[in-house]
C-alpha cells in the first residue's frame, strides 16, 4: 500500500477540464518529482491533494484512508502538508510567528518546541531572522521560511510546489540540499519542479505531465536519460 495514492482524478476550473484521469502513487520515504511545462496541471494536482480544490471525480487515499472529501485543515491534520507556489508567507508577521502558525494543527501544536528545534537545525538562518517581518526577507530566505513553516506542521508527506522558482542558482542548490535532508530524516517528499535536472537527480521516481495527463513515468534516472525529456525540458 502506498502512502499517497491518486486514482483517476479529473479536475475542472469552471467548465474547463485541466486534469484528465491522472493516477499516481507515492511510497513512504520516496522523493517523487512531478515535472512538466507551465499549465500542465502540476499545481492543480497538489491543490487537489491538499483540498484547496475538489476533483470532479476520482479518489485520493492517504495512509489507506480516503481524503478527497476532507477540508484542507483536516487534510493537514492527517499529515499531508502543501508548501504553495510563490511561498505565500504571512508577510506582516515575523518569521517566528509564521513558523508558529505552521504548527497550528492539533497534531503539531503540542510539539511546537521540538518543531522549532528541528527547523532551526535544518535552516539555521531562520533562527537569526526570527524577529524579522517575512516581507522584508530575501527571496531565498522567504522560501526557507515557507519550507520551515511546512515542516512545523509535522508532515508525513511534504508537497513542495516549485521551491526553486525565481531563485539564484546558488540558492537553488541550497534549497535542493535542504529537500534532500528533509527526505533523509524520514519525510516523504512530493516535488513539483521546473528545474528538471536537479529534481529528477534527487528523486527515486518521477511523473511527466502534459496538458493535464501523465504522459510518462519512471525512475529519476530513466527519465533523465530519456531523449524526449532531455530535448523537451533540458534542451539537450
Amino acid at each position: 500500500m502506498s502512502l499517497l495514492e491518486i486514482k483517476n482524478i479529473n479536475c475542472f476550473y469552471g467548465d474547463v477540464q485541466v486534469i484528465y484521469d491522472v493516477s499516481m502513487h507515492v511510497n513512504e520515504g520516496e522523493i517523487i518529482s512531478m515535472i512538466g511545462a507551465n499549465g500542465a496541471g502540476k499545481s492543480t494536482i497538489l491543490k487537489c491533494i491538499s483540498g484547496l480544490i475538489r476533483a470532479q471525480s476520482g479518489e485520493i487515499y492517504f495512509d489507506g484512508a480516503p481524503i478527497h472529501h476532507l477540508r484542507p485543515e483536516q487534510i493537514v491534520d492527517r499529515g499531508v502538508v502543501h508548501v504553495p507556489e510563490g511561498r505565500r508567507l504571512f508577510t506582516l508577521m515575523t518569521v517566528k510567528e509564521n513558523l508558529e502558525v505552521g504548527a497550528h494543527n492539533p497534531r503539531a501544536h503540542p510539539h511546537m518546541k521540538e518543531g522549532f528545534d528541528a527547523v532551526h537545525a535544518l535552516l539555521p538562518r531562520l533562527k537569526e531572522r526570527e524577529g524579522q517581518l517575512a516581507a522584508t526577507l530575501s527571496g531565498g530566505e522567504q522560501q526557507m521560511v515557507a519550507i520551515g513553516r511546512g515542516m512545523m506542521a509535522r508532515p508525513k508527506i511534504l508537497m513542495l510546489d516549485e521551491p526553486s522558482l525565481g531563485l539564484a542558482p546558488v540558492l537553488i542548490k541550497e534549497i535542493f540540499q535542504t529537500i534532500k535532508k528533509i527526505a533523509d530524516r524520514g519525510t516523504t517528499v512530493l516535488l513539483v519542479e521546473q528545474d528538471v535536472q536537479h529534481s529528477l537527480s534527487l528523486s527515486s521516481r518521477g511523473y511527466v505531465l502534459e496538458h493535464g495527463r501523465v504522459v510518462q513515468e519512471g525512475t529519476g534516472k530513466e527519465l533523465l536519460d530519456n531523449p524526449q525529456i532531455r530535448e523537451a525540458y533540458l534542451g539537450i
Binding site: E73, V76, V83, P84, F90, T91, L92, E97, V101, H104
Partner: protein, 294 residues
C-alpha cells in the same frame, strides 16, 4: 482658553468612544475583507441589549457588559456563520467579495426594522446611577460616563492587540487576514476564524452600547448615525488599522466638539467631510493604512 481646553477634553472622550465603535468595523474588514454595513445596527442591538439589561435587571450599565458582550459575540458569530458565510463560500476565489456588502445591507434593514416593530420608534433614555455625573478638575468639567467610555476604549484596544499578537487564535486570525489560502494550508479553518473575528467585532459593539446608554438615546435607527461616523473614521485612519481607528475617532470627536464652539454644529459635519477628503487626497490609504497591509 478654558473653553478650548474643555472642547479638547470633550472631543477626545467622545471621539475615543467613536474610535471603539470603529475598531469593530476595522477588525472585521481587516480579516474578512468585507465592509459590514450592518455594523451600526449591531451597535443598535448592543444598545438595546444594554438598555434592557439595565432596565429589567436593575444593574449598573457597566456590569451589564458581563451579559451584553458575550450575547453580542454570539450574535455576530451566528450572523457571520448563517448569513454571510454562504455568500463568502460562493465567492471564495475573490479577495474582496463585494456581494457580501449587499447581504450586510440587507441585515442592516432587517435589524433596524425588526427593532422598530418590536420596540416602537420612541427614543428611550435610561436613568443610571452615573448619568449626568461629572468630575471637576479645576475649571474643567468632565462627564463621568464619557470618561469611563474612554477608559473602556483603552482597555478593549490593548486587550485586542494582546489577543491578536500573543494567542494562538489571534495569530490564526492575522494569518487568515494576510493570506486565507495559505492559512488553510496551515490547517486553519478559515470560516471558523471569520466567525470568531466577526463575533469579536460585534462584541466590541456590546462594550460601546453599554458605554453609551448612560448618556445617549436608544432608538431603532441610532446605528445609522454611528455607521456613517465609523466609515469615515475607518477610512480616515486606514482600513484594517487598529491605531487608525482610534486616532480617526479622536479626530472626528475633536472636530465635532471644537467646531461646535465656533459655529453651529451642522457646520462641523462639513468640516469632518472636508478633513476626510483632504486626508484621502494626500494619503489615499488613510493615516495609518500601509501599502503592504491587507
Amino acid at each position: 482658553m478654558d473653553t478650548i481646553l474643555q472642547g479638547i477634553v470633550n472631543g477626545t472622550l467622545i471621539g475615543s468612544i467613536y474610535g471603539l465603535a470603529a475598531l469593530g468595523l476595522t477588525l472585521i474588514f481587516g480579516v474578512i475583507k468585507v465592509i459590514n454595513f450592518a455594523h451600526g445596527s449591531c451597535l443598535m442591538v448592543g444598545m438595546y441589549a444594554a438598555y434592557w439589561a439595565v432596565k429589567l435587571l436593575g444593574i449598573h450599565p457597566y456590569l451589564a457588559m458581563v451579559i451584553v458582550v458575550p450575547a453580542l459575540f454570539f450574535f455576530g458569530y451566528l450572523m457571520q456563520d448563517i448569513v454571510i458565510k454562504p455568500v463568502l463560500k460562493a465567492q471564495s476565489d475573490v479577495r474582496e467579495p463585494t456581494e457580501v456588502i449587499i447581504v450586510t445591507t440587507g441585515v442592516w434593514y432587517i435589524l433596524d426594522n425588526v427593532t422598530l416593530m418590536i420596540f416602537g420608534a420612541e427614543y428611550r433614555v435610561i436613568q443610571t446611577s452615573i448619568s449626568g455625573k461629572i468630575f471637576e478638575l479645576g475649571d474643567l468639567i468632565i462627564s463621568k460616563p464619557k470618561f469611563y467610555g474612554f477608559i473602556a476604549t483603552i482597555v478593549v484596544s490593548l486587550a485586542l492587540v494582546w489577543f491578536l499578537k500573543y494567542t494562538k487564535m489571534g495569530k490564526s486570525i492575522r494569518a487568515a487576514s494576510l493570506d486565507r489560502e495559505a492559512a488553510s494550508l496551515m490547517g486553519i479553518n478559515q470560516y471558523r476564524v471569520y466567525n470568531i473575528a466577526f463575533g469579536i467585532g460585534t462584541a466590541i459593539m456590546g462594550v460601546v452600547g453599554c458605554a453609551l446608554i448612560p448618556f445617549y438615546y436608544v432608538f431603532p435607527t441610532v446605528g445609522v448615525i454611528f455607521d456613517v461616523k465609523c466609515f469615515i473614521i475607518v477610512v480616515l485612519g486606514g482600513l484594517g488599522s487598529i491605531p487608525g481607528a482610534l486616532i480617526g475617532g479622536v479626530i472626528v470627536g475633536l472636530i465635532e466638539s471644537m467646531g461646535a464652539q465656533f459655529m453651529t454644529s451642522t457646520w462641523t459635519e462639513l468640516i469632518v467631510y472636508v478633513v476626510f477628503l483632504a486626508v484621502l487626497f494626500v494619503k489615499p490609504a488613510g493615516l495609518f493604512g500601509s501599502k503592504l497591509d491587507w
